[in-house]
Amino acid sequence: MSYKIMEACNGCGACVRLCPADAVSGERKKLHVIAEDLCIECGACGRICPRAAVLNGGGMVCVAVKRSEWPKPELVIEECTACGICVDACPVGCLQFLGMPVESGGHVYPCLKDSRACIGCGFCSIECPSDALVMKRPVKSAGS
């Protein structure tokens, strides 16, 4: 089920910029709409919306979360087969084949190349056939 935007929308356009499926449209400062046939239910619009104006596929109001707290995939390399399903599943292309540990026998593993581009949708984790990607909320390191 597609996400929906409600009247509370102030047309700030944050969701338009973030939507990887080009599903959101609307004039600036006016009510925006989500094209049902394009929405992939990644939830990015709901997480970014400062007005709590987005309903998810189940009809629940989405709660905005600070972007720095959006969950990110972490690789459990022992479980990873380098099959690339996660790289394909990522709608924003932030996962790429980059890492080749010395002991890998030449196999190249996926890495979160552009952590800031990640929208926290978790599709990589959902589609991974070996449960090698775990979505985790970033932990602030000491002093940061």
């Binding site: 239910e41 087969t81 099959c83 690339g84 394909d88 056939p129």
Partner: protein
């Protein structure tokens, strides 16, 4: 219910520049799945009889597999389908890389192109919007250059399928490339794309792909991964090569378990078979006239798997592959980082032409991949030309001065460059051996090794007669990716389908050459299973693991929410296989015209080497094979009652 298919296709009319989405009814997916099944369904009904393969009436389809993108493994093959200009009948080729999921991410199960464009164009699909764009600036560029430029233009996440210059020049042995020179090479379908003046297809979508029971898909995938990762150490390459010699002389062999082949693929890739295949008699040598005696270990050592591995910088996995038989290699000269050449390419450009120079094989492999020309057919055609030259059928005057002698690397490189450019003798050879032999005459057809016009791959049917059966009797002849005695052993289908014969633990070599009902049932099972697998988008190498270790039927059930039995799925395979044969009948193909060349069948058996004295009587095999499908045992045409039973209109 969430289904693993998108339920839609995109039909592009290149003559009118019009694109139409079509909804495909659920019953079509239930009868044919997707991939090759959907491709056969559309082409059978829509390509008119007598259609010129290079004319506007032919349809070229890019089809994704039903299991692609469902969390299953080894399921990332996309299928290219069309009426083949090389064989005149059903044509297909498939390829891995990342293109198959990209089709579904754009919301389609397949893209079909009809008509011909006046000017070069490419299709660009981005998030539900499809556009035909001018490709004037891309025409004349090689496949890798074109892909790089299109990714620069449309983003690195886009998947690109593209023809090189061979397809543009309508070479009948050209294919379609993706992921920097991986290629759906066979059946000459690159020329169909060239004839439509369609340079590339660029796909950039993010659609979700449905699955009925994702948790079960994962459970099944984890079971499969366990077998992929099960340790089974291999001996060093040199010792492994000698195992081939042992297999040559021993009269009884152990039935092959695909776990061994999995280890070979994991360590060396397909090139792991380079030496062992020559030693055991699997690899054709010197245009199928030679044997292991002509290319002994001292020579094959130069193409040893160990050397191929030394040149590998990293492994390459196609989408959804946990094995990674591919590799990225370092090479000398103009192209520094290239796809590791496959066994087929190394043998076709190497031992088949008596060429011992590995550098030239790497170079030619990359050159051909970039041109989008099939390495199997190009090597086979070069070997044919060399034999014609050696026998005086072709002279220096015909070859633009090239001394086409066995093992003359320099001349071989020059010849293949000419074929790519259609220059001089290259123009004569750029459409494969059969057309070249028809033009040359002088008895040269005897040296044109092909089936139905398609050059034979690097597996000798005088060593494994199953290859000759499938080369000769498949609707798309001359391909090695459907069946063989060896494949049947490794598929282990009898563990899932109780009526199928179990070949047992020990197999006598002479027994393999006996022609009986069980052989025909095994061959038919391979054809049926691979038709099903190609509809699902499965990789042959994954299927070699064996039917209880790679859960094809179970994945299909979990993805679609069915409880169908393996037998019920095999009926789908049978339907697809019969529909391809019906396509051939509709287009006037006589089944017997597809029989492999006499030399490959061993009509005159070899006097020395691994396959000494071996021959395969395809006339005896054919009726038994056709009978399994309910096809006429005289003509190979599907009987009306068979078509009715399978629901083919």
């Amino acid at each position: 219910m969430k289904m693993p298919y998108m339920g839609k296709i995109l039909v592009v009319d290149l003559t009118r520049g019009v694109m139409e989405e079509e909804t495909i009814p659920d019953r079509v997916y239930e009868q044919y799945l997707s991939g090759m099944g959907l491709g056969a369904y559309i082409l059978y009904h829509r390509v008119p009889p007598g259609a010129d393969p290079l004319g506007p009436d032919n349809i070229l389809g890019f089809c994704s597999g039903l299991l692609t993108g469902t969390g299953s493994l080894f399921s990332g093959r996309w299928m290219l389908v069309g009426k083949s200009p090389l064989t005149g009948g059903w044509g297909d080729a498939n390829c891995g890389g990342t293109f198959s999921p990209a089709i579904k991410r754009c919301g389609y199960d397949a893209l079909f192109f009809k008509g011909t464009s006046r000017d070069p164009v490419y299709l660009y699909v981005k998030n539900g919007r499809a556009n035909l764009k001018d490709a004037g600036d891309l025409w004349g560029m090689d496949a890798v250059e074109t892909e790089e430029l299109l990714k620069e233009r449309h983003g690195a996440k886009a998947a690109v399928a593209v023809i090189g210059t061979a397809g543009e020049r309508l070479s009948l042995i050209s294919g379609v490339c993706n992921d920097r020179g991986r290629i759906a090479a066979r059946s000459g379908l690159g020329a169909v794309m060239g004839s439509k003046r369609l340079k590339a297809v660029v796909l950039d979508g993010v659609k979700r792909i449905g699955v009925h029971d994702r948790a079960e898909m994962k459970n099944l995938s984890k079971h499969c991964i366990k077998w992929v990762n099960l340790p089974l150490p291999l001996p060093p390459a040199g010792i492994f090569a000698r195992a081939g010699a042992l297999m040559r002389v021993t009269p009884v062999l152990l039935a092959q378990d695909g776990l061994l082949y999995r280890s070979i693929l994991k360590k060396w890739g397909t090139a792991g078979m380079n030496q062992v295949s020559i030693e055991m008699g699997d690899a054709p040598i010197k245009n199928w006239d030679g044997s292991n005696v002509d290319f002994p270990l001292e020579k094959s050592r130069k193409i040893s798997p160990a050397i191929i591995r030394e040149r590998e910088i990293m492994k390459y996995h196609c989408y959804s592959c946990p094995l990674g038989c591919g590799g990225i290699s370092a090479a000398t000269g103009k192209y520094a980082r290239i796809h590791k050449p496959e066994y087929e390419s190394i043998l076709a450009l190497g031992a088949l032409c008596m060429n011992e120079d590995l550098d030239s094989v790497y170079y030619l492999n990359e050159l051909l991949n970039r041109a989008g020309m099939d390495t199997i057919s190009a090597g086979g055609t070069a070997a044919f030309a060399i034999e014609c030259y050696e026998k005086g059928i072709l002279t220096g005057g015909d070859t633009d001065g090239l001394e086409l002698k066995w093992g003359n690397t320099e001349a071989l490189v020059a010849l293949i460059k000419k074929m790519i450019r259609r220059e001089g003798i290259g123009d004569l050879l750029a459409d494969g051996v059969k057309i070249a032999a028809e033009k040359i005459g002088k008895g040269s057809m005897e040296y044109a090794i092909q089936a139905g016009g398609q050059e034979l791959p690097m597996h000798d049917g005088r060593n494994d007669p199953g290859f000759n059966v499938h080369y000769s009797l498949e609707p798309a002849p001359g391909k090695h990716t459907t069946g063989a005695h060896l494949y049947y052993e490794m598929f282990q289908l009898w563990k899932k389908l109780k009526d199928l014969p179990n070949p047992g633990l020990f197999i006598t070599k002479d027994g393999k050459f006996e022609i009986d009902e069980d052989k025909a049932r095994a061959a038919a099972a391979c054809s049926t299973f691979m038709s099903l697998a190609n509809a699902a988008g499965m990789c042959l190498f994954g299927l070699f693991l064996g039917a209880t270790r790679i859960p094809t039927f179970e994945w299909l059930n979990a993805a679609m929410g069915r409880q169908w039995s393996p037998e019920e799925y095999m009926v789908i395979g049978e339907r697809i296989h019969t529909l391809k044969q019906a396509f051939n009948v509709k287009h006037g193909i006589e089944s017997r015209d597809n029989f492999a060349s006499g030399r490959a069948l061993g009509v005159i058996p070899q006097q020395e080497g691994a396959n000494k004295g071996r021959s395969v009587d395809i006339e005896k095999h054919a009726p038994l094979y056709w009978k399994q499908f309910g096809w006429d045992t005289e003509t190979g045409k599907p009987k009306p009652e068979t078509l009715r039973k399978l629901g083919i209109e």
